[in-house]
Symmetry: D2
Subunit: 361 residues, 4 copies
């Protein structure tokens, strides 16, 4: 696995910087014969697209994807699928501040320490713009796992959580926060707007559920489904925590509280609870796969923070430019995409190792 | 990366089941010329060793490691290092219950669903016994990163957390809980003993800090240091959550609260806070790398839980045998080992890509 | 390693079909700070470019490369380098013959057997056009190994070999055959032209030498330098044989004939022979790395061959279109590129594992 | 892929030195439910075992394999299979000569150049003894591909080739040379014995055929079946050349001579020739997969060769000890094992990517 590739059998490699001519992904290992066109990818990109409300960055990108290879007469051929999205709204602003001083919380200092210099325009490779490539690749992954249904939503912003008593999944696509709780939507409008007007930003929690995953995907240890999902989610910009099922809450439980009892059902066992998030021993159980992801607040803020310059001088910095006041919001389609990418990979891996069983059972 | 291998340049592969003749690990990619003998590995294994107090499983294993290859005249040769630990106390108990019915929370059902059958003796490959191999491999990793100091501790058991005002690192090695808070030790003795006597079990939180990591290890996205650490920690049996730095707490903060301000220092910048856990943009900043790991309560309990048999019949199951009442406790040396293994790998990866810079700077 | 990726640390992934909109490569793991622009890549592509003489395909492609990412202010940043070459001369010919029947020697039947269908336009992914992506990636690799000098040449066409007594490296760039023997050039002009006029094709042998490789690159077994080079060369379209050093000729020798005796020199030992092709025990010795590659004759010929159709009917097929009468000729820059790509990767791998030694020696 | 691991889905990692306590392999990714015991592996090891005739090394090793994990009640469980072979006849001879001076043709100098020092006892990791681990792993691979029949033989020793007119496969197992030509056996007895008595050694060519490989295994480019096989074969000690199908001979042919014409058959097309060695476009065609491998003469000879010492002094060296006069002979079971290992891997990879097609066709 290289630095910019994710996956084992169904793999994708992303490339591109915030202010370069384009960004993209190459998807390798996709099964042949799947129906795929730009029209299958674009809707997911549109969900992630910037500039759609005042609660996201005001950068305006069409985010139009082009398929450059791997599809013939509307179907995947089994060869690499090259996806490209041109950057169109790289504003030619003055980056001299960012070039000279390090924005705390940002990749700036670490990049310089590692590579000796950095493409500072819009954050370069560390920009959340890279996640558009993931969303495009994720749309291909969805074609590999039609049996799986994935949805994600924001469950908390700036510490203000939804009330699960109000949970209404039909709301998720109807508000700018991907929020399933109508009352939280009203509160968050004020909360996020206030942070935006303050030049500040907010963290968020995103939750994701995949139903339809059959029992048997995953592997015992280093390729545990939990581990693959954690790596996938933690690879998203600004993510600093991942929980599978009950996660940290399980650490407060006793064994009998955390058990997911089983009863006989028509098609295998029925589980009476899902503390495990649909994964036991690293392998899916047939229950919904559930996880939670913590996004830190956007590091780029208009409030001055103490920093140092490249030359080692003390300085204060404020980060102008167009930024998401809460980067977790647009994280929702990205989390979904990473879930799809991991599950597509696991499906193929399971078929590779245990395919004969499946055929003979 | 295969199912039982972890790492990119410094890689290890583990093998073995709880009740097979032995378990082990093969470490590949280790630099040559490092001093290494069994005596460098054994102390770490002894920390993880079962049967040392009433708060851990009563299985008695010497856990004596043998180096079978890759070391010559006391130094690593650069070739694979084969480590083997013989199993000596596989009690020949009656496993017919476990063979027939699925223990909720355990890997039993998922293994059967994936592989069609399973080695049910002592949990087979899914037993926490596998972690001894990691601890042995981790000891080799420590030889690769002498500049790094790693320590972990239990910060909560069953929801009862330590008070950081009482934090005394010298206590960690002096109690059976790897606990840095003397008052918590006293409480936990009662708490864990009560759970043990009830035939129940408890979850725990383990925290780990690595100091001495220079700025520059890691990579921007899919090989983000956060992502590698999350995968490593989540690959440990019973782990269901990982946080880097402030983790989920960061999701409740505003941008200016979460920033780690920088001031000029003698050897590069000084950070005035460490919300990021020592990693920005996926790359180490030179601050201590910090993470938290959630262990669920041991699934094997003596309290009956509803389940189904392999034949699909309803049943109740209690799991006899020798089990840890709180598997998170012995997770401490395992978390340390995984931290060491990730950092050793990252050191080599950084040297590969940016080594010339290091030499010329 | 996925299906369309090569390398371990310095990795590249290619994508694209002969008659799609573009082809390209993503280079990952490149060290930062190297000077790189399109002008460093284009000359190598121009060497491989079709349509430059009557001895190559008459397809006319400008083969202009664009760098889409990973370079900032003229230097590599350490992030993925995306290279794209647009296809401009995909002739909209009638492919109904190829769509219906299998061209013997071609990938047609095997692709259908594997994937169920194929992009038959110009050979799709199996077209030698893919090698342009390798040549572009190879130019990046050259920047990683400035200490190494690589050159390749054609040593035989259709069984007619050069005479090493006539070997003049300055000739290689001065004739359409990359031939170092002036007399062979004259013979080959007639030979290749005759084959071309017959509608036939010819096989060829390409030899490649890399000097300046220091002792110590490679690894003992599965990452043997011999093995990496063999995989690299054999991955080129139409290649069916690889020899390192004396190769098959060594199988006819006795031990004392095949030994490369050593004498003391100023900077380490001097070798009195190079039967081993610069590699002993899988690791470079400091001698020139030498290999030979066999290209089969182009499968696309105008002479009818017996075949079957997709529907299983007997048929005869002739392959119209624009084809190289000897695909090995344009294989020369491709072989050089693959040599550069392997050596760049090996340099980084060696630095990763043994870098500390290098620094302290 | 790490330095001592081979394969993508069906992977094995070998470890061990010639004069350490043991050698072994860990096989990962093996499908579950396959019947496997030591008795399935031992016969293949016995074929490779040293000391069985005067034409092989006189080291006497029982080469008894133990399965330490991954098998339960006689069937593979899907978890890693650890195979160990103890070394029993490491003769405690005086290695001071080898420790001090470099044996030309051997790995000695290159190891020192790379790693700074080496385990010189019996060649350490570079000893052909490592191939026993491959043969053991190869026996597991055979269980994965029961549809495939593999056989290899020696086709030439020291330049003296068999006559294919005399080819009798039943002879292969009946003489110490794995030779299918009774007349060649008689000649080789004298030839090899003479070399042995001279203290010299001979090179050899080994050919291998796998029948029963269905059409569709492999991949277009970097995972071409040709490329995987070349890497596998070239990773064997002393191998310096690999040909697929006609190999270098194809470079002397014209297109119409090299074509493998097709005619309709009952189960897909029938091929009228097999110049391609059963692989077109990197993918199997259903014809027998055929390859040839060149082994150089054993480097360890009793005839003095000029060399240098570690201290840079001129010296002559003769290599005492117990060595194969023709290492290619015992290469036969190793080549077969590598063929099995590659094909098992390719079967699983094909199932992963194209499994759904297989199920629906």
């Amino acid at each position: 696995m290289s630095f910019n590739t994710f996956g084992r059998m169904f793999r994708f490699t992303t490339w591109g910087e915030s202010h370069g001519p384009a960004i993209g992904a190459v998807v390798d290992g996709c099964p042949p014969g799947l129906e795929l066109s730009e029209a299958d990818i674009q809707p997911w990109l549109d969900l992630r697209k910037p500039g759609t409300s005042k609660f996201t960055t005001q950068r305006r990108e069409a985010d139009e994807v082009r398929i450059l290879s791997g599809v013939f007469e509307g179907r995947t051929t089994g060869t690499p699928i090259s996806l490209m999205i041109e950057n169109t709204d790289q504003r030619s602003k003055d980056y001299s501040d960012v070039a000279k001083a390090y924005r705390p919380g940002h990749a700036d200092y670490a990049y310089d320490a590692k590579y000796g210099f950095r493409d500072y325009r819009g954050g370069g490779r560390s920009s959340a713009r890279e996640t558009a490539s993931r969303v495009a690749a994720g749309a291909v992954a969805r074609a590999v796992i039609p049996e799986v249904d994935i949805f994600a939503y924001v469950s908390a912003i700036g510490g203000d959580a939804i009330d699960f008593a109000n949970f209404d999944p039909s709301l998720i696509g109807q508000n700018p926060f991907f929020c399933p709780d109508a009352q939280a939507v009203m509160r968050w409008e004020k909360l996020v707007d206030a942070a935006r007007l303050d030049g500040s930003s907010l963290g968020a929690v995103v939750e994701c559920v995949a139903s339809g995953v059959p029992a048997g995907w995953g592997a015992p240890l280093y390729a545990k489904l939990d581990s693959e999902l954690a790596a996938a989610m933690m690879s998203i910009n600004a993510v600093k925590g991942v929980e599978i099922g009950d996660g940290f809450a399980a650490a407060s439980l006793r064994g009998e509280q955390n058990a997911d009892p089983m009863r006989p059902g028509h098609d295998g066992p029925i589980f009476l609870a899902n503390h495990a998030g649909g994964i036991a021993g690293g392998i899916s159980t047939g229950q919904p796969v559930k996880l939670r992801v913590a996004f830190k607040p956007t590091s780029s803020i208009l409030i001055p923070v103490e920093t140092v310059t490249r030359d080692g001088e003390a300085s204060d910095i404020i980060t102008k430019g167009r930024h998401d006041p809460c980067v977790g919001i647009r994280g929702v389609p990205v989390v979904e995409a990473m879930m799809a990418l991991v599950l597509a990979d696991q499906k193929l891996l399971h078929r590779a190792q245990c395919g004969e069983r499946a055929e003979t059972d």
